[in-house]
Symmetry: C2
Subunit: 289 residues, 2 copies
């Protein structure tokens, strides 16, 4: 089965577990809306690719880690889109959860997705219980306090923002979790894989800043120019478009060079190259060429 | 060490782990505000009492389960108090988190507390990794979908409400998790302990309805009469005060009778009797006597 199908199937199993008669139907619908259809699923793909590069001896444990990371990513999108944060109307080309289901169900759907992530880990990784504590901790670390995505988002509520921490926590942390948990799910030492996640997380953030500045809303499925209008830090605004494109190249090269010696280095390298094409809007790539 | 001190220390260790320089200071403060000073800590006390009744062979695992349940309870209070739900100004006699820190940090503090609950389980229960999957699943089941507190709260967003599920999920689920996880943390079969949690959860809900109807806001530290003003179901409104007091007696008697044969039955029975005194507002107890 290919990576995309494994990811969708594990996510679907997790979401379906909540869709029984005991669950309020609108909450169940809001959760499904938040998870399907998905975006590029880049974090779980990265998790699977790293696990495969490490020999991948327990695909069900890897699938659980990948799905947990994607569910947490979806939860953060639902909460970040809320009126008290970005107040976004669209996401992935259609209504955000709070626009489609109201604010209370958006708060609750996000909460339920966080719980579902850890539940999925506990259920699907049951065949390797001794790997569970380490996996839970790498995933939790990427989401909670002091240095997960929740902490990253909360820097927007401080009078003085730590920009480096802001980006590393808000975007980088979940990429690092993807590489670290990918290795750990396969029983490998996760530490050598941390740098790859760090590089890719920062690359993704720079690419997102570029797209926010110059892309077409229709092309990326969400509003553009929001960083400037919300006064949020943006690398492409700060360094200019050329500077940001150079930085993106540098980070992707760093990512490729950081891959530890392993059987699946080629596949990982190909994944990084395809991300480069995907992440930069077509118009910008043409202009930069 | 007495139960209260064990609970506060484990909670404090969990909260302190987030209070490092990487964490936005206002988020860290909002999380501490949500957890300390606590309420009666009835759920973690129940968890400890059941574990002791089962022989309590792994106090650090029991403490982790108890703290996880209390952190999830605190998270649910922070989110339930939000403007889009109860819009409550006070809780435990002082400002709610969103009144003290703003709505964005209240959303994020609740999210961080959910993650912290599972992180605490993984960290503190590391000495007994084989008990971790079962503990995680009993706790997750009480919080997420289809039948945890998040689902219970979401019934308020449906056009047609299932009252029995609403109460069982919104309040009962976390009591049941307390007894089930208490037994599981001590390596005992959790199933015989489910009924005790179910009875106490329903008793607590009825007592809460009575207090909402007749108590003094100063005595219970939060606004009263909110069920009527928010149009929420309330047993004391529906059955009258005498009917609700009878039902409470019945449920507490059921709870006491459900206690399985064990070494700590007397302590548990005493806990139930002291809860009865605590749960009914003084004025009502006098009127009912």
């Amino acid at each position: 089965m290919d990576a995309g199908m494994r990811i969708e199937q594990t996510l679907n199993r997790a979401v379906m577990r909540g869709e029984t008669s005991g669950c309020p139907p609108r909450l169940a619908a809001a959760i499904r809306h938040a998870v399907f259809p998905g975006g590029a699923r880049i974090r779980p793909r990265l998790c699977l690719a790293v696990a495969a590069a490490c020999g991948g001896d327990a695909p069900e444990v890897t699938d659980a880690a990948a799905a947990a990371i994607e569910l947490l990513h979806c939860a953060s999108l639902v909460h970040d889109d809320l009126p008290c944060f970005d107040n976004a109307d669209t996401r992935r080309g259609r209504a955000t959860v709070h626009r489609a289901f109201g604010e209370p169900l958006a708060v609750l759907a996000g909460d339920a997705l966080i719980v579902m992530a850890f539940q999925t880990l506990a259920l699907e990784a049951a065949s390797m219980p001794l790997r569970l504590p380490g996996l839970m901790l790498s995933v939790a670390r990427a989401v909670g306090v002091p240095t997960g995505i929740v902490a990253g988002q909360a820097w927007e509520c401080e009078t003085s923002i730590n920009l480096e921490l802001y980006h590393r926590e808000k975007t980088g942390a979940l990429f690092t979790a993807a590489t670290v948990a990918g290795a750990a799910s396969a029983g490998a030492d996760p530490d050598p894989w941390r740098a790859l996640g760090d590089y890719l997380g920062e690359a993704y953030q720079v690419a997102d800043d570029i797209r926010d500045l110059v892309a077409d809303a229709a092309e990326i499925g969400k509003p553009v120019g929001r960083d400037a209008s919300l006064g949020r830090p943006n690398a492409a605004l700060a360094q200019g478009l050329d500077g940001a494109l150079d930085r993106l190249d540098e980070l992707l090269a760093g990512a490729a060079a950081s891959i530890p010696d392993c059987i699946g280095a080629d596949t990982l390298d190909a994944l990084i190259q395809s991300e480069k094409v995907r992440l930069v809007p077509k118009g910008v790539a043409r202009r930069a060429a």
